[in-house]
């Protein structure tokens, strides 16, 4: 039975908005030219390739359903499980189901801790027991392991090369048809970077991604690629599930705050007078409370509301989802002030320009002027703010979950992963894989987001003309 959680609905609304914007932009040359400049940025397109892979995983993880209950002996199956799964869970079923007893190292065949096991002859011995799922297909784990892992890695690389070649062939073929040249010529143009769109950056990034993903996929069939955590869950599964949470926090938050920021900012700037005073007072007040504390206060209150009304939620997943959504809105509540101030200042400038005065002279209503004449001309500020905020929000989620005011503890996210793993480095022997996996995935995601937002800003900010500026808003996240 398909289940649509609130965040799923918003995620798909966002996708629909993105598609609609894409169609709108593609028909207007003056808007398209800025996007072409984004497409020319090599770092931007490399980052976009990485982001696309993350978004794909996140979207797969947003298709939720409740599996039909299996028929228990003597009864016909009716009704659905209370456990909500996603399409990604279905794809990763072996990883999800393959839980071990406790820690095991990446690609290990044995547990990471000794256990007392009864030998066949009746004596007891302290040994590292075999894993229940990792490397179970090996007859003699010590002798066969190297060979098996090497074969799988080679197989993975072969898969990677094949996938990459297929992708490259499709693009080159399409390019050859488009330019009406031979395929070799098309390939040479792409590879030398003679195309306007930075295809070669996409190719190189994809090759690197594939070289990582291919072996990971091939190995995941038989082993725990990143090991298992304290309760034996596969760390690769946890990191892949974390991606959706990070993307939801990064995007839904901006979606939630945009209406406030845009409407209030433009209204304050255009109408002025007491309306302006009230709106300024509103955001100065909100701004004067340190962000973390305001979030803490709001999240604590939300927790009380959710905990005192358990009857609102049919499943645990719905409760966790409601909390995730509420966190997005709370983060949005604290972050709209900056954009609002920018938009107000810009509207103050635009209000005095000739085309707005002309519209006023023609008798256009204020609402119409704000919607048709001011809003389209501040959209670049909105867009830059949206992409710039993303990475900061992903980082903020991890910190907030650590403090205990982030997502629900049952929601898999980078923050909860780090939180449960933070004492593992103090163990003897050290358990490093959970933290390293979370670190690598988070770093790649945030780095790609930062590079992409730089490319967008360079292309859209008319003041910059190619120069880079960092926003001080990001500094607030540090330590």
């Amino acid at each position: 039975m398909p289940t649509i959680l609130w965040t799923d609905a918003l995620v798909f609304l966002l996708v629909a908005c993105a598609v609609a914007t894409g169609r709108y932009v593609s028909r207007r040359e003056y808007l398209l030219s800025s996007w072409r400049r984004v497409g020319e940025s090599r770092s931007g397109m490399a980052a976009l390739t990485v982001l696309a892979v993350f978004v794909l995983i996140g979207l797969l993880d947003s298709l939720h359903y409740r599996p039909r209950l299996e028929a228990v002996a003597g009864k016909t199956a009716n009704g659905y499980s209370t456990e909500v799964r996603s399409a990604l869970d279905a794809l990763l079923r072996p990883l999800k189901a393959g839980t071990e007893k406790t820690y095991s190292a990446p690609l290990a065949t044995h547990l990471y801790a000794r256990e007392t096991v009864e030998q066949p002859d009746g004596t007891q011995a302290r040994v590292f027991p075999r894993l229940r799922h990792g490397g179970i297909h090996l007859k003699d784990p010590v002798a066969d392991w190297t060979h098996d892992v090497a074969t799988r890695i080679l197989l993975g690389i072969a898969i990677a090369v094949l996938t990459w070649l297929t992708f490259a062939a499709i693009i080159v073929q399409a390019a050859a048809l488009h330019w009406d040249v031979r395929r070799q010529t098309a390939w040479r143009r792409i590879w030398r970077g003679e195309t306007r769109f930075a295809w070669n950056a996409v190719f190189v990034t994809l090759a690197m991604l594939m070289l990582f993903c291919g072996p990971a996929v091939a190995l995941a069939g038989g082993y725990h690629v990143f090991g298992t955590d304290k309760v034996g869950q596969d760390v690769l599964y946890l990191t892949l599930k974390s991606i959706r949470t990070a993307l939801v926090i990064g995007t839904i938050t901006t979606l939630a705050m945009l209406p406030f920021a845009v409407v209030l900012g433009i209204v304050a700037g255009y109408i002025g007078g007491w309306v302006d005073d009230v709106i300024q007072y509103l955001y100065t007040t909100l701004n004067s409370i340190p962000g973390v504390l305001l979030i803490a206060a709001a999240v604590l209150m939300m927790q009380v509301v959710i905990d005192t009304h358990p009857e609102w939620f049919a499943t645990a997943a719905q409760r966790a989802d409601a909390r995730l959504l509420a966190l997005c809105f709370i983060l949005g509540l604290t972050s709209w002030t900056g954009l609002c101030r920018l938009l107000r200042a810009e509207t103050l400038k635009l209000r005095e320009l000739e085309y707005v005065q002309a519209a006023q002279a023609f008798g256009a209503s204020s609402v119409r002027i704000m919607g048709r004449h001011v809003l389209p001309n501040v959209m670049h500020i909105v867009l830059i703010a949206v992409v710039m905020d993303f990475s900061g929000l992903v980082l903020a989620e991890a910190v907030l979950s650590y403090i205990g005011i982030g997502v629900d503890p049952s929601t898999i996210s980078f923050g909860t992963m780090i939180n449960t793993a933070r004492l593992e480095l103090a163990r003897e022997p050290v358990v490093w894989w959970s933290l390293v996996a979370a670190f690598v995935f988070m770093f790649v995601l945030v780095l790609a987001a930062n590079l992409f937002s730089d490319a967008v800003r360079d292309a859209f900010d008319p003041r910059l003309a190619g120069r880079r500026v960092a926003s001080p808003a990001h500094q607030g996240q540090a330590a």
């Binding site: 340190p290 803490a296 005192t308 933070r422 945030v446 500026v469 330590a479």
Partner: protein, 325 residues
């Protein structure tokens, strides 16, 4: 000048009233004291008597904003709003859930917080500004390019990893300093050096990029060309002219955080077990001690408003063109 300061302080009052109303709504209207009591006592085994007792112990057993049963001024003062929110204005924070006086805790915890935050602030400012000046000095070279790349990479790492990794490397592998803890007096340096270093390193990425942009904006201006035309060395141009003229944007971002240094840092203090205001706040959040969180919100906004005022005053010090009326 004095008139200006007084006027600014008067402007602060409506903002603080707004903050107060907001926290009052969040803490007492969205959730009634009954909900809080139920949370604290555990959802399941809760009797109405236990709730009443919990509320009476903490002074939540009064009406929210208007007390019907009281006499005279008591109608206003005998309420939760007056007791818990209005009294914040005279810095009377009341007691935490464990019965301790919040005001006393705050005073005694400010020291350790400042001991970390002040060195981080000064050292961080020095390091990032000099690093940014260096990048600008070598602008449009490979050093500049890779410096910016390093900055972007550094700002993509969560501060949690800086702390966890730093603790692991320096304390566990190299055994240079204790992993966590705190001591009074000069002994504190041993415990403070690592958190300070980690916080400075964690802030390098974004701050350096920010300052670099400010300097690059300045360096395109005419007075810089004049200075070069006079035959000044590039170093003299950077330090004597560009740095001075970039002071206004730098001060805008820097001065406002100075009062907030008293609040300490949530993450660093809790990881390193430093008994400052940051770890106090985290403990309160984890224990769902709303009285403490409310007080910290109020102090935070007071300090922020002071920071804004200081920012404006600092402009007059660095830029003689700025006159405050």
């Amino acid at each position: 000048m004095i008139a200006y300061i007084i006027r600014r302080l008067l402007y602060a009052i409506p903002i603080l009233v707004g903050v107060n109303l907001l926290t009052f709504t969040l803490f007492f209207v969205v959730n009634t004291p009954d909900d809080m009591a139920r949370m604290q006592l555990g959802i399941k085994r809760v009797t109405p008597e236990a709730i009443e007792k919990w509320k009476a112990e903490r002074g939540y057993d009064k009406p929210l904003i208007y007390n019907e049963s009281a006499e005279g001024m008591g109608k206003i003062t005998g309420t939760i709003f007056f007791e818990k929110s209005v009294k914040l204005f005279i810095l009377d924070f009341g007691r935490a859930d464990d019965g301790r006086d919040i005001g006393h805790e705050i005073r005694s915890r400010m020291g350790p917080s400042l001991a970390i935050a002040l060195p981080v602030f000064l050292l961080g400012l020095f390091v990032t500004v000099s690093f940014a000046l260096m990048l600008v000095f070598f602008r449009a070279t490979y050093l500049d390019f890779w410096g910016v790349v390093a900055c972007v990479a550094m700002m993509s790492i969560s501060s949690l990893f800086y702390i966890i990794g730093g603790q692991y490397l320096v304390s566990k592998i190299w055994h240079l300093v204790p992993i966590s803890g705190y001591a009074g007096g000069l002994d504190a340096a041993r415990f403070l050096i690592l958190p300070v270093l980690i916080s400075v390193v964690a802030g390098i990425g974004s701050s350096t990029r920010w300052y670099r942009t400010i300097f690059l904006e300045e360096i395109g201006k005419d007075y810089v060309r004049t200075a070069r035309a006079k035959g000044l060395s590039e170093l003299a141009v950077l330090f004597r002219h560009v740095l001075k003229n970039a002071m206004i944007p730098i001060l805008t971002g820097v001065v406002v955080v100075i009062p907030l240094l008293f609040m300490g840092s949530l993450l660093v203090e809790s990881f390193f077990g430093i008994p400052g205001l940051g770890s106090y706040t985290i403990d309160a959040i984890n224990a769902q001690d709303f009285a403490v969180v409310r007080s910290m919100v109020f102090i935070g906004s007071v300090l922020y408003i002071i920071g804004l005022l200081l920012t404006d005053l600092s402009y007059t010090l660095v830029d003689p063109r700025v006159r405050l009326q």
